[in-house]
């Protein structure tokens, strides 16, 4: 089609030109060359934007007439294009000229062609429809013998080229890699890199040619190939380790000045090349001692030769990265960093703070946070505030030296960060207050301090606090006001009432406020203010508020009930929740008997969803304010389990309504739900509880600011000393003290801190483990149930199984005592370790990871139940050992669940000793969302036992190769902790699931999808038969066979969570014609690649 259009276009001007009269065009032509000048001068002379607009519009309409006039020569056209480029640059639409730009590139002589190409590259984008008209021109020019034409074609290809037309030019460009001219080779390499970026799978086969480019005798070609290698190594470092030697050699040559002298830039030999090579080496050497060793020499050499005084930020950035590896390095540059802190450029300041953030420890926290707050008060950009506030909160939680400081800092965070900050911050803060640490009096002091400071803050007139801050305040006041030991909470009620009546307070905050009032009312029921409040809000237009007011009103009538519902300081006690909602059993039975539809569990509904066109949305609408019944919602599967463990159901229901939002938070963000994201943090929190400290108490942040201001008034010499003091306070605790401190002062202080925190650490460790032991009761009982359930399953049908499980569960609960538990757990573990054949078996049922920690009964039973439901019908991979040493062995396997990939890592302790604080962390990976499954956080692995960690992995967009890495930490008795690193490869196929649709739906979807990829692949004779090809696709790619018609097949699959992809394939002799279509642009490509791999591999 583009062919025909092109021919027509080519023919047109020729026709017109033949009949040109001599007089007219010549006159036009003479004035042409200065037209642009005229235009520019015209514009320069103008004074207003409006006039400019008028002039340009005038110019554009002239141009429009000229370009479409038949008499316009190509030369004039070229002039017009330049003017059009100018107009477009100023932001005016010149789309009428696009087609002429393409024409010019097609027909012009070299010069005109060049302008045509330039205009095309500036006007069009790679999805522009007109671009198809250019493809033939590009192909023609690529075959030209004229170097300049080839260069132009390569340039345009790397700038804009339609993805689907790549096959048309790919072989031509590949040939150019062998071209005799360096410049062509260079450009060809970059053009191929561009293809690699937009359609990686189409250039998969030429990777080997890139290696040739890397070894090219021309420096430019080699440099161009580095772009590709940087990219590919970033994606998959392990595949290119063998090239490390080559890169090192190249860098050596560059640094050693072996390149031609014109590659020197201001007497530095090829700095860009050095940068690029260093980055590549950085990627290759990351986490790989052996590869890194190859580089040390040359890195040292490069560092030595590099000038270090360029631009300060650059240095700082580098330093920031270095410091992540070794904080002590910052010491050498402490004075520079101090200078940067006072730098007038905010960007440099920010980088400095970033650096300080990395070196923060318990001893320099106050100074660093103070610096951060100073910066925070000056900055206005939202994302800086969000970022910085998060950092301060994180540091404060980790290293807070004492209660007062912590609360004051958090106050500053809340008042500045306000409503833009991450919601984790206030939630974490409240959780911290509620859960407390090991020392009860300490906790009480912290809470008391918080209450006092909020009362003071609320006393200040005419100050508006952010909503989030008010919410935190109201929660804290409601929970902990009693610590003040006042007779009545009248004072605080007045304040809350005032806020409630304030129009600027949002309704969400008001709900928090009224919850606080409710809690306080239970402590002092006779209050006029409460009376007034109830009157006010029972007629409120806000239904939510009205509801709360009514609740409060009725609760007040029954003081005893109210007190039992709202016990003092019980916010983080776990509630016994009737997860099965057994109190509804009667109701359900009644409804069922009257013909109501029975309840369907989630997975069943999912299946139906796929078969039906329209289904109702069964998902809950987020967390509603009154969170009653949320446990049931969380685990619909849990309904069949554990009727026995339900507590007083009536009480539970009421309690939840009044526990309000906090309880909701508690469950969702409870110890287990929390860990996936914040695992490091929770550890740290227990490590560094606020300790009262006489030496560094800062009354308020504001005061410290004032202090600082006073300091600045001091004389010059003092200022210098001040800086040194600052330096010593900033860098305290990095490395050995004697080298750290310029003034050598902080020694004693730091010791004090250290000892204290150590004691704390051990203490908290003990308590948590004790807690965990008690918690593991239910988990192992349900495990045992599960295993028994499995064996029963083989004999009986599903319904029977459910019954059996129930009875077994209750039996276990009755008979087992806490002390017997470890043996039960061991039993299941032994079973696991002694019979690894279970994994190679085709089903998963036999394996049930031992659950160790549990927070609440409800969670645990639901987890067990959900695992039960899920694992039984899913495929899984073999158990593969990913890393090991003499003590432990870490293996992993994948379970391909319907809705996600489930990764299980199992750590087996081979030694005869107990392993302490064992922890497995998965590094966050781009494109993957990794969620830890609750219930796998027991810090101790007993001798010769196995423990598993489970993660569910979701993918964000299609990919070809993926990799998850992480490490496992553990500590043997009395020895230092050991860290083992590992990585696991992920394939796109891990996230592909069959999509079961009908042929009719297939047809509909096929037509609605815009992205498609076609490819023919050759296969061996045995593969070519339709059935065997089908089998391969079905088994290896997990495609669903929709229908087979003659020698054609229709298959469908989906990329989790729900990107469908359809495949149409046809067999011709030994060629398989594959045709993928999807709603996602990259998925067909990636799938095609996998498909090729599978077909070639089998």
């Amino acid at each position: 089609m583009s062919d025909i259009v092109e021919k027509t276009l080519t023919a047109l001007p020729g026709l017109f030109l033949q009949n040109q009269s001599v007089g007219g065009p010549a006159g036009v032509k003479a004035s042409f060359s200065s037209r642009l000048g005229g235009l520019v001068r015209g514009i320069t002379a103008l004074t207003s934007k409006h006039e400019e607009e008028k002039l340009i519009q005038q110019e554009l309409s002239n141009l429009k007439a000229t370009v479409s006039a038949p008499a316009t020569t190509l030369k004039m056209m070229k002039e017009c294009m330049v003017r059009l480029i100018y107009c477009e640059m100023l932001g005016y639409d010149a789309s009428f000229g696009y087609i002429h730009a393409i024409k010019l590139a097609q027909q012009g002589n070299l010069l005109e062609k060049r302008v045509g190409y330039l205009a095309v590259s500036l006007f069009l984008h790679e999805n522009h429809e007109l671009l198809l008209l250019l493809v033939n021109t590009v192909v023609k020019d690529l075959q030209s013998t004229n170097l300049v034409e080839v260069c132009m074609a390569l340039t345009i290809v790397s700038q804009i080229f339609p993805r689907e037309m790549i096959p048309a030019v790919l072989p031509l460009i590949e040939d150019k890699l062998q071209h005799s001219k360096e410049i062509i080779r260079r450009k060809a390499v970059l053009a191929l890199y561009k293809f690699h970026l937009i359609a990686p799978n189409q250039v998969q086969h030429i990777h080997i040619k890139f290696r040739k480019a890397l070894c090219d005798r021309d420096v430019g070609v080699m440099a161009a190939s580095l772009h590709i290698y940087f990219r590919m190594i970033k994606e998959n470092p392990s595949a290119y380790k063998d090239l490390t030697g080559s890169f090192v050699t190249i860098l050596k040559q560059v640094v050693g000045g072996k390149l031609p002298v014109d590659f020197n830039y201001h007497s530095v030999p090829a700095p860009w090349l050095q940068i690029q090579l260093l980055r590549i080496l950085g990627l290759l050497g990351k986490d790989d001692q052996r590869t890194s060793e190859l580089m040390y020499d040359v890195l040292d050499e490069s560092l030595r030769r590099a000038e270090l005084n360029h631009n300060v930020t650059y240095g700082l950035k580098a330093l920031t990265y270095v410091i992540q590896q070794d904080p002590t390095l910052a010491l050498q540059h402490q004075m520079t960093i101090i200078e940067c802190l006072d730098h007038p450029d905010p960007i440099i300041k920010r980088e400095t703070l970033e650096l300080l953030y990395r070196i923060t420890n318990a001893q320099n926290i106050t100074v660093i946070v103070q610096k951060m707050l100073e910066y925070l008060h000056q900055s206005k950009e939202e994302y800086i505030i969000v970022n910085l506030v998060g950092k301060i909160a994180e540091l404060a939680e980790k290293y807070a030296p004492d209660n007062a400081w912590f609360i004051q800092t958090m106050n500053a965070v809340f008042s500045v960060g306000g409503d833009v900050m991450h919601p984790d911050i206030p939630n974490n803060f409240m959780r911290l207050l509620a859960e407390g640490f090991d020392d009860e009096t300490e906790d009480q002091q912290l809470r008391l301090y918080a209450v006092q400071s909020y009362l003071t803050l609320l006393d200040v007139e005419n100050v508006f606090y952010p909503q989030k801050f008010l919410q935190v305040m109201s929660w804290v006041l409601g929970e902990y006001y009693y610590l003040l030991d006042k007779d009545t909470p009248e004072e605080v009620l007045t304040k809350l009432y005032k806020l409630l009546m304030n129009a600027s307070v949002s309704s969400e905050t008001k709900a928090w406020l009224i919850a606080a009032v409710t809690k306080l009312t239970s402590q002092a029921h006779s209050s006029n203010i409460v009376e007034r409040l109830i009157q006010e809000f029972t007629i409120s237009l806000d239904t939510c508020m009205r509801q709360h007011a009514f609740e409060l009103k009725h609760l007040r009538e029954n003081v005893e009930l109210m007190k039992s519902l709202l016990p003092v300081d019980k916010s983080c006690e776990d509630m016994v929740v009737d997860a099965s909602l057994s109190f509804l059993d009667g109701f359900v039975a009644e409804e069922l008997s009257q013909g109501a539809a029975p309840y369907k569990p989630h997975h069943q509904r999912q299946e139906e969803k796929l078969s039906q066109e329209k289904v109702l949305n069964f998902e809950p609408y987020g967390l509603s304010f009154s969170s009653s019944g949320f446990t049931g919602r969380q685990s619909p599967a849990g309904i069949s389990l554990g009727s026995d463990i339900s507590g007083n159901s009536a009480e539970t229901g009421l309690k939840e309504t009044n526990g309000l939002k906090l309880e909701g938070i508690k469950k969702l963000w409870g110890k287990e739900g929390y860990l996936p994201k914040k695992e490091g943090k929770t550890g740290d929190e227990t490590e560094a509880p606020p300790v009262p400290q006489e030496s560094i108490i800062m009354e308020t942040v504001d005061q410290t600011l004032i202090k600082k201001d006073q300091c600045q008034v001091l004389t010059q010499s003092k200022e210098e000393k001040e800086k040194q003091l600052l330096a010593s306070s900033l860098f305290v605790g990095l490395g050995s003290e004697s080298t750290v401190n310029l003034l050598g002062k902080a020694d004693t202080v730091s010791h004090k801190f250290r000892r204290k925190s150590k004691i704390k650490e051990t203490k908290s460790g003990e308590t948590t483990s004790a807690h965990n032991r008690t918690c593991s009761y239910f988990s192992s009982s349900s495990n045992a149930t599960y295993e028994d359930g499995y064996y029963l399953d083989t004999l009986q049908d599903r319904g029977d199984k459910e019954l059996n499980k129930l009875s077994l569960n209750s039996g276990l609960l009755d008979s087992e005592s806490l002390t017997e538990l470890p043996s039960v757990e061991k039993l299941s573990n032994c079973k696991l370790s002694s019979s690894p054949s279970l994994f190679t078996d085709n089903s998963m049922e036999g394996f049930q990871p031992s659950q160790s920690t549990a927070l609440s009964v409800a969670n645990e039973t639901s987890l067990a139940a959900s695992l039960l439901e899920e694992t039984s019908e899913h495929m899984h991979s073999d158990l593969v050992e990913v890393c090991h040493n003499e003590t432990i062995s870490l293996s992993s396997f994948k379970i391909w669940k319907d809705d996600c990939l489930f990764m299980v890592w199992s750590v087996s302790n081979k030694s005869g000793l107990e392993l302490e604080s064992a922890d497995l962390e998965i590094a966050p990976a781009e494109n993957f969302k990794i969620t830890e499954q609750p219930g796998c956080r027991l810090p101790i692995i007993e001798a010769e036992s196995i423990k598993t960690f489970q993660y569910s992995v979701q993918v964000e967009k299609p990919f070809t190769e993926g990799n998850l890495s992480g490490f496992i930490n553990y500590q043997m008795m009395d020895t230092h902790s050991v860290q083992l690193e590992f990585s696991v490869n992920l394939s796109l196929l891990d996230f592909i699931r069959p999509l079961k649709i009908s042929t009719e739906n297939f047809g509909k979807l096929w037509l609605s999808f815009a992205n498609d990829v076609k490819q023919n692949i050759k296969v061996s004779e045995s593969q070519a038969a339709l059935p065997s090809a089908l089998k391969t696709l079905q088994q290896k790619l997990r495609l669903h066979v929709v229908e087979i018609i003659g020698n054609e097949g229709l298959l469908a699959c989906q990329l989790l969570p729900s990107i469908p992809c359809l495949l149409h394939f046809r067999v011709h002799g030994d060629v398989l014609a594959l045709w993928f279509r999807s709603s996602c642009s990259t998925l067909p490509d990636c799938l095609l690649y996998q498909c090729q791999k599978v077909m070639e591999g089998s």
Binding site: V115, H125, V148, L190, D345, I347
Partner: protein, 173 residues
Amino acid sequence: MIKAILIFNNHGKPRLSKFYQPYSEDTQQQIIRETFHLVSKRDENVCNFLEGGLLIGGSDNKLIYRHYATLYFVFCVDSSESELGILDLIQVFVETLDKCFENVCELDLIFHVDKVHNILAEMVMGGMVLETNMNEIVTQIDAQNKLEKSEPPVMEVHLQKSTLLERKRFLHL
């Protein structure tokens, strides 16, 4: 990779804009304006890097700029580029322009916008740095210019030149 190369003068008038990623016409204009706004309010004595404006991609992006006499040269790059490398690349670009135009000034860029684009195309291709060796670039440009010998040279604008590279000496000596 390099996402965009912008040149505008002290008043924010665009002199050259080259985008290596598809943006709509409107967005392009907004990016130019935003970039000018960000860059122009910075003092002479602060560093040459800043985190990108929101339009061009937020904090993953960096603006690296240099100010020469009447013009700002701004490169918008993503995090895979080295700031320092780009900073020097700008210098190479300007020095190359200087060689090709003999004492380049703002007017050269206005009247020979196509030539400037051609020079740029020899340095940066599809968002990737192609060549940093100034001699090599000039050689390529010269080779192409031979084609133009038949064309009458357009020398009308060399009258009111205030050299663009005045500041160069301050920066590098």
